[in-house]
Amino acid sequence: MLSRRELEHLYPGIRLGKDVTGGAFSALDGHVNPLRLLMALQQGFVDAGGTVHRGRRVDGIEVCGGQFRLHLKTGVVHAARVVIAAGEASRVLAEPLGMTLPFTLQRGQILVTERVGPVLPYPSDRIRQTAGSTIMIGGTKENVGRDTGTTAGAAASLAARAIRVFPDLARVSAVRQWSGRRVITPDIAPIYERSSRFPGAYACICHSGVTLAAYHARGLAKRIAGYGSWDDVQQFSARRFNVQAA
């Protein structure tokens, strides 16, 4: 935990609002650029000998003689191992493979400012400056189903909160507002599922693949590939929700 004075040392280029009394700092946290992450993951997959089928929707997965048959519009792909990581579409794909994925949808709205000189050397969970030098201000948590609209009320409250923390942001224009749907499990932690009925089938559900990229790209991927023990991953099975409410 940091005092206000210590926080001021971390952010020498911008003033803190009078309401800021302190902060929390973790040297293990960082910022991952989602676009670059996606590119790196796909490139790594291709470099390892994989083929990416872009824009090919999987309509269903069948089990056939210990093998998985993925039905694509353009044909069938056979696989010995399948990992379902399709966000909110995962449930439909995972059910027939004996995996139940409880989750709800949550809308998050984000404000993006014009590009400004570098002022935020550290990302925070709500306000961070991107490599492209815009400032991203997040995020609402709304239970509105599949609606990905944006609202003036959210823009106002996100902006007000950002200005309360960094008053100088009042002079910066917001140029974009967008929203997306998060996949939220009952305890917000990820679900990493391994089918016991159909060995070789896995499902991953979380918010988000970006936030947890470091673990997904190494620890989890290795275990799915069969290296290392699944024991420490087991606690993230959806079976943890199969308890009666007290």
Binding site: V119, D168, L169, V175
Partner: protein, 103 residues
């Protein structure tokens, strides 16, 4: 946007004067600031804060954000989504917005 054709109805002579960086620019009623800018010799709208290179209106449909310009009273807006009106004062933005105690 792209309203000029459907709005002109034979009154193409209807013009207003806007200001871009202090210089008067004749614009047609019903067109956007970006469209008026593109007729100018210096048709660039801003410099990108990343490399400093000049940018001009590109997509004209509000998605590329290369035509961001400072409009008096409105702040930084997309010129391709802003209709001209008499006396509108527009400025090109050069360099990143400065934020901090010193300004």
């Amino acid at each position: 946007m792209f309203r000029l054709l459907e709005d002109d109805r034979g009154r193409m002579e209807s013009t207003v004067t806007i200001e871009i960086d202090g210089y008067p620019v004749i614009a047609r009623i019903g067109e956007t600031v970006a469209s008026a800018l593109l007729r100018e010799g210096a048709s660039w709208s801003r410099t990108t804060p990343v490399s400093g290179a000049r940018r001009a209106p590109y997509c004209m449909m509000g998605v590329c954000f290369d035509c961001l310009m400072l409009v008096e009273g409105e702040g930084l807006v997309r010129a391709c989504q802003t209709l001209v009106r008499a006396g509108l004062k527009v400025q090109r933005q050069t360099g990143p917005r400065k934020v901090g105690p010193s300004c």
